[in-house]
């Protein structure tokens, strides 16, 4: 009986852990976009290795991921100016990129090994 109870509790804890996606802790905008990059690579399997930020944004928009897209685009523009244009890193922590990353993981948790994106 006790063993059954323990198994049920651990199953419940496991399920709760799957459903709860904590936003990661980030240092800066660059860090936020690297996390978003890894999230996309891992959780959006139908995007090829050679995807660009533009491809990813278009695909995620198409899937109906709910984020403030104008703000996301503006943050991405700032990051791209830093990444490709040698500008100073934008201030802030790239909150929108983290929100997007969390949204992707929340929607895709449990589907990570499937070939087709469940969006």
């Amino acid at each position: 009986m006790a063993a059954d109870g323990a198994a049920a509790v651990s199953l419940l804890v496991g399920l709760l852990a799957l459903r709860t996606v904590r936003p990661p802790v980030v240092k800066d905008v660059s860090d936020a976009f690297q996390i978003l990059n890894r999230t996309i690579e891992r959780f959006v399997p139908d995007l090829p290795v050679g995807f660009t930020w533009g491809d990813a944004m278009e695909r995620l928009r198409g899937y109906g991921v709910e984020v403030d897209w104008p703000r996301m685009e503006s943050t991405l523009a700032g990051y791209e100016a830093f990444r490709y244009g040698g500008r100073d890193m934008p201030n802030g922590t790239g909150e929108e990129a983290i929100v997007l990353s969390t949204q992707i993981r929340r929607k895709l948790i449990g589907h990570r090994n499937k070939a087709k994106s469940p969006f």
Partner: protein
């Protein structure tokens, strides 16, 4: 970085050419990147009017040469003629001396004429009887060819194709666009309706600004990996040349400029890649015969899906 220029040019061209916004944008990108364009398509799909309208709205001197099998290089570059008044030979410039040259049906001219155009395209100059004459700046050749013609034509060799920064294939318009074209042409359509949107000083400034668009080292490495991947590709017997990659980076910069940025991104490279690379790649014949591939642009797209850009 001026983003308004693209809209101005597209809207002026749109007054007479319907449904060719993408092609007009590619002409503008190649022009800003200092390149030449090969327009490919069957007759009557607005290749000539597109080129004429483009030259008009960017305020360039325009000349057209209709290439024929009996043409001589002299018909294009000009030559020395005897002036009876001063009893001296003087150079009479051919139609190649212009800012924007429309080389209509380029594959109908014999190789000698085609190679005379090479020097003009590559060096911005022509040499006649040992004397070199500079061509006006900016200089752009827009050549057209009909892919359906097989008789009485001289297909452009690889080295000549490589001189064209882009090859743009014009397809038939869709049903709605076709109806619009017919409707609009019920009254007389004329490129005179196209207004000049740039003057010489503005154009000079823009060309200077495009040169200032930066390309990071990581982006250069990305381009090198693309080139390497194309040379390893089994479905190709000829991959991208270093010149192709140089053209690609110039077009990416022009695209970045038109997008209002002073730096190029992988997006800029990807957007122009099939137009810059496809015509320079040679398909492996055994892959064609086995049906593994039929179109080089498909191979270009596949390569871009495999090579990881800096992110």
């Amino acid at each position: 970085m001026d983003t308004g220029i693209k809209q101005k040019v597209l809207s002026e061209i749109g007054k007479v050419v319907i449904g060719r916004e993408r092609e007009a944008e590619l002409l503008l990108i190649s022009f800003l990147a200092g390149g030449h364009v090969l327009l490919e398509g069957v007759p009557g799909i607005s290749k000539t009017i597109l080129a004429k309208s483009f030259s008009r709205c960017v305020g360039l001197d325009f000349k057209r040469i209709q290439f024929t099998p009996d043409m001589l290089p002299m018909d294009m570059v000009g030559g020395f003629v005897f002036n009876v008044k001063n009893r001296e030979f003087e150079f009479r410039r051919g139609p190649v001396f212009t800012n924007l040259l429309l080389a209509d049906e380029i594959n109908r001219a014999p190789p000698k004429v085609q190679s005379a155009l090479l020097e003009a395209m590559q060096e911005g100059q022509v040499t006649v009887e040992g004397i070199t004459q500079k061509l006006p700046f900016p200089y752009m050749v827009i050549a057209t060819q009909n892919p359906q013609e097989f008789q009485g034509v001289y297909p452009l060799p690889e080295n000549q194709l490589d001189r064209f920064q882009m090859k743009v294939s014009l397809l038939y318009p869709d049903l709605t666009t076709e109806s619009l074209i017919i409707k609009r042409n019920l009254s007389e359509m004329d490129t005179a309706q196209v207004n000049e949107v740039l003057n010489a000083a503005e154009l000079e400034g823009i060309l200077r600004d495009v040169q200032k668009v930066s390309v990071s080292d990581e982006m250069i490495d990305y381009l090198s990996k693309i080139a390497e991947e194309s040379r390893k590709e089994r479905r190709l017997s000829l991959g991208a040349s270093p010149r192709a990659m140089v053209h690609l980076v110039h077009c990416a910069r022009a695209n970045a400029y038109l997008s209002g940025r002073d730096f190029a991104t992988p997006e800029d490279v990807k957007k122009v890649s099939t137009y810059v690379l496809s015509h320079r790649l040679r398909l492996d014949q055994s892959s064609v015969l086995t049906g593994a591939v039929s179109d080089p642009s498909q191979v270009v797209q596949d390569i871009f899906t495999r090579v990881r850009p800096p992110r």
